[in-house]
């Protein structure tokens, strides 16, 4: 708990620091790692930019300008010829994806990546975590950290780092874990949030389960929060909600970017104020990660439909929030097929340390939740349903377990939209499945020689398994 308290002190000191950009807010430096990280990173910056320049702000011009400026300071910086430059560092061990990403950004004409913001090598990590962590990491540590340092220096005030990576491959996972550790060493007072992509359950990469457990166990020690997206879940959203017939990775990434945008775009700093929040990363950590043993976060958003279908629908806050709450309670990953039978335990607060006898096994207990509301009449939205103590575990006051962020400024073309960032049991089952599969494979020793060849021993595997079994058990016992 000590580390938590000192972390909170750090956040408070950051929030109340005085500086030239006091009103604009603090910046986030994004590190995009590997094919997945770079492909997604592009979509995220693009989504943020397009939303902030969206004409349908549904609010006053001045308000819109404040929103834009806040987004800009957070994620972009200005270049000489007026084209905004993403505050990002692109890292990959082979050149094809970075080249593609850079040219896509340049072609868009709207924004661009920094000229010297990339680190690239010739040969990839072979889908091997050990290769990314033990070979590429130490070899390229200095170059990569220098690049990050240069980007940090261009921020007036740094909130922290947003690290985008996948778990299944070799670079995002292994090098991502290594870089996160180095960031912790080099910038101990800055926050780190890792955006992690969980691969499809049915293989993209055969080594994905090994790579996943090694990644998660290492990040659990060095990252401040793990924001997790599952390919299976995003795929379903594309298939059922977005009506896309031939779903490509670009489609998945755009849905994901939309979700992230709806979390990270500016919101008012407190109820009734019209100044934008300065430090979303810090605030997010403060609200959602009260205890270092519980750092897995997931995102749900509503409505989940393509912008083209919006013309035919109208929403009420009551309707949206009702659905979102039920999605949370029943562990639904999307807006369709929600199980309305699942209800919170009826006996109110469960006795301390024991699970309520009336608890529905399908019920998803939360540690903390954050609801972000954007759009018309946002002040009238009623979030009382999320304050129900029955939703939460017993060791936090419900008052501290739930928070709301709001802005009147709509997100993209969505007149009303809501996002839920949740620290709850939502990810326990998927994590359990991954650990189980990895364990089965490890028991047969299959592929282990590929890891020991690069310095990751059986003991390292066992350490990872132990840590993750503890995480599964801790979350399971809420």
């Amino acid at each position: 708990m000590r580390s938590t308290i000192s972390r909170l002190q750090v956040i408070h000191s950051l929030v109340f620091s005085t500086g030239p950009s006091l009103w604009l807010g603090m910046s986030i430096v994004t590190v995009q790692l590997g094919q997945c990280g770079n492909q997604i990173g592009f979509e995220v910056f693009d989504a943020l930019f397009r939303d902030s320049h969206c004409s349908q702000g549904l609010c006053s011009k001045r308000e819109n300008e404040a929103y834009q400026a806040s987004c800009k300071e957070r994620f972009f910086r200005e270049e000489e010829n007026g084209v905004p430059v993403a505050r990002a560092v692109l890292v990959d061990m082979e050149p094809k994806v970075i080249n593609q990403t850079l040219s896509r950004a340049a072609r868009s004409g709207r924004w661009t990546y920094g000229q010297h913001a990339c680190f690239c090598q010739r040969q990839g990590s072979g889908n091997n975590w050990a290769y990314g962590y033990s070979v590429h990491g130490p070899k390229h540590e200095e170059s990569i950290m220098n690049l990050i340092q240069k980007e940090v220096e261009k921020c007036d005030s740094l909130s922290g780092f947003f690290i985008i990576m996948s778990m299944a491959g070799g670079t995002g996972s292994g090098l991502g874990a290594f870089v996160t550790q180095k960031l912790q060493d080099q910038y101990p007072s800055s926050l780190k949030m890792n955006q992690i992509i969980w691969p499809y359950g049915t293989g993209e990469v055969i080594l994905q389960n090994y790579n996943s457990i090694l990644t998660l166990s290492h990040l659990y020690r060095s990252s401040d929060a793990l924001l997790i997206h599952e390919n299976d879940a995003v795929h379903k959203i594309c298939a059922r909600r977005m009506n896309i017939k031939q779903i490509s990775f670009r489609d998945l990434n755009q849905v994901l970017a939309h979700q992230l945008g709806s979390v990270f775009q500016p919101t008012y700093s407190e109820d009734g104020s019209f100044h934008y929040r300065r430090n979303p990363l810090g605030d997010l950590m403060e609200h959602l990660v009260p205890h270092p043993e519980f750092k897995m976060l997931s995102v749900r958003n509503i409505p989940q439909m393509s912008e083209n279908s919006l013309a035919y629908s109208t929403f009420t806050w009551a309707g949206l929030l009702k659905h979102l709450r039920q999605m949370l309670i029943s562990s639904a990953k999307m807006e369709e097929g929600i199980d309305w039978q699942v209800q919170p335990p009826s006996s109110g607060l469960p006795p301390l340390g024991k699970m309520s006898a009336h608890k529905d096994p399908h019920f998803n207990t939360s540690i903390a939740n954050l609801v972000i509301l954007r759009g018309k009449d946002v002040q009238s939205a009623n979030v009382e349903g999320f304050k129900d103590p029955a939703l939460y575990t017993s060791w936090l006051e419900p008052l501290h377990a739930f928070s709301t962020w709001k802005t009147q400024r709509a997100f993209g073309k969505y007149e009303k939209s809501a996002a839920l960032v949740s620290n709850s049991q939502l990810l326990v089952k998927p994590l359990d499945v991954i650990v189980g599969k990895a364990w089965n494979m490890f028991a047969s020793k299959a592929y282990v020689h590929q890891y020991t060849k690069f310095g990751i021993e059986e003991e390292d595997f066992l350490d990872s398994f132990t840590l993750l079994e503890q995480v599964v058990a801790s979350y399971g016992n809420l």
Partner: protein
């Protein structure tokens, strides 16, 4: 971006190699519209300024001047290599990257391995080092040879030892052509057996091919092209053709078969050379498909074999491509992976195919396939945007599957028939450095391999039980 060097050994190796370079040029010409020497080209080709005399220094960027294959050609007879050097591809090869002799190996592995091995070791090393120096980042050696002869089999496997010693960090992928049962070389079982031991111990990955399977595929294609649909088949799309290449028409009957193998190698490297939404580099092949070091034999299948000139290809045709990849008629060796046990499977998809198509087909086909208990979701997938010439999409499936076992068992059977009677053994034993124990060791090595596959097969019918998990105190 990395580079690979192709080492083609023996008659078979060089004939396949020649077809490979032909089709590689065709593929790059179709993709590379601007004539700029790019990373993709550099993986197999050097860009050489022929105006500058001497060595022909490499140009790393800019317009394509003269492309030279990253290849080393080795043969102990002159016929095939000479033909290549006098043919339309002569300018693609660096005349200094050749090693030839005149007497041939007499279909004797011992002659290829021991005699020519020691005779040419220094030269081989020198040529390999030169090729390596010409690469910025050499990732892989592709060795192509047959198993049944003397040069490819003997000298080809000798080469593996040199590669292992001198370039330990560079992958060794071997494309090995196994003799069919009607092979006319009497000693091919000896040669194949002795070569197998080397492949077991020194190759990172082996892609076994057999002539019978290639021949069957050609027969199937001939049936189609001569039948009702014949006119609708796009000629450039045939997996057996070299239409549109430098070589105008297939000169030898083996060319059609060799083109299939050449297409295999092109698809294998496509995702490393060209962009896509889910890339797969060569090191990922070995990493994902080799669960234990000795089990590195990958059965391959290529689909489609041809394309109908049909503008709107509905998803069903696409799905048919996936189904075909698992049928025993599309495998490049006599094997039936559907009815054996998968240890791992890779799907390398090219062209206009998205992740949802891939997933739909995996879900569809998975229930009928048997995967080993510890790798139930043993799929490695990749999506490369660039299709092969003449196709809008294609699929290469690589299976690490116990269905290779029958090939090895048959090989052992044919070997034993000869060995029991000591037939032709003296031809081998009279070679300096060749001992009879080499034969016993080779059989022993193969038997151990077969046993591993046996043990895995035995698990096939057993129920999949989860291993008890670690229990932790909270």
């Amino acid at each position: 971006m990395t580079q690979s060097v192709v080492v083609q050994v023996g008659q078979c190796g060089n004939q396949i190699g020649c077809c490979f370079w032909d089709l590689a040029l065709r593929e790059h010409a179709a993709v590379n519209q601007k004539g700029i020497y790019d990373d993709a080209l550099s993986s197999f080709f050097r860009n050489v300024d022929t105006r500058v005399g001497g060595d022909g220094s490499s140009i790393s960027k800019g317009r394509i001047s003269s492309l030279k294959a990253r290849a080393v050609l080795i043969d102990m007879e002159e016929g095939v290599v000479n033909e290549i050097l006098q043919g339309p591809l002569r300018d693609v090869f660096d005349s200094k990257q050749l090693i030839t002799d005149i007497s041939g190996s007499g279909n004797n592995w011992a002659v290829g391995h021991k005699v020519f091995g020691s005779l040419y070791r220094e030269q081989i090393l020198e040529k390999l080092r030169k090729s390596a120096e010409q690469c910025d980042c050499l990732q892989c050696f592709f060795v192509i040879h047959s198993m049944g002869g003397g040069t490819g089999s003997g000298l080809g496997t000798f080469l593996l030892k040199v590669l292992e010693d001198e370039f330990p960090d560079v992958y060794r992928f071997v494309t090995a052509v196994y003799p069919s049962s009607e092979d006319d070389v009497i000693t091919s079982p000896y040669n194949s057996m002795l070569a197998m031991k080397e492949l077991n111990e020194r190759a990172d990955c082996v892609l076994p091919i057999d002539n019978q399977s290639l021949f069957d595929i050609i027969s199937k294609i001939d049936l189609v092209t001569s039948g009702k649909l014949g006119a609708a088949v796009k000629p450039k799309s045939l997996v057996t053709t070299n239409m549109g290449t430098v070589t105008k028409c297939p000169k030898k009957p083996f060319d059609a078969m060799n083109n299939i193998v050449a297409n295999l190698l092109l698809s294998l490297t496509s995702s490393a050379r060209f962009e896509g939404s889910l890339n797969m580099d060569l090191n990922e092949i070995s990493m994902n498909l080799v669960p234990f070091p000795q089990l590195h034999y990958l059965v391959s299948s290529l689909t489609p074999l041809y394309t109908l000139a049909d503008v709107n290809i509905p998803p069903r045709r696409l799905d048919q491509m996936f189904s075909d990849a698992f049928s025993k008629n599309h495998q490049l060796i006599q094997a039936d992976p559907r009815h054996s046990l998968y240890l791992a499977c890779a799907l390398i998809v090219r062209g206009n195919v998205q992740i949802s198509d891939l997933r739909r087909n995996i879900e569809r086909l998975k229930p009928a396939l048997h995967f080993v208990s510890w790798n139930q979701e043993g799929w490695k997938t990749s999506l490369c945007s660039v299709p092969p010439v003449g196709h809008s999409h294609s699929l290469l499936a690589l299976a690490n599957n116990t269905c290779v076992k029958p090939t090895f068992m048959e090989l052992r059977e044919r070997f034993m028939r000869l060995y029991r009677k000591k037939a032709h053994l003296h031809h081998y034993l009279q070679v300096d450095g060749m001992e009879e124990c080499a034969f016993a060791e080779a059989v022993s090595s193969l038997s151990a391999l077969i046993q591993e596959y046996d043990e895995l097969d035995a698990t096939k019918s057993m129920p999949v039980l989860d291993v008890p998990r670690l229990s932790v105190a909270l």
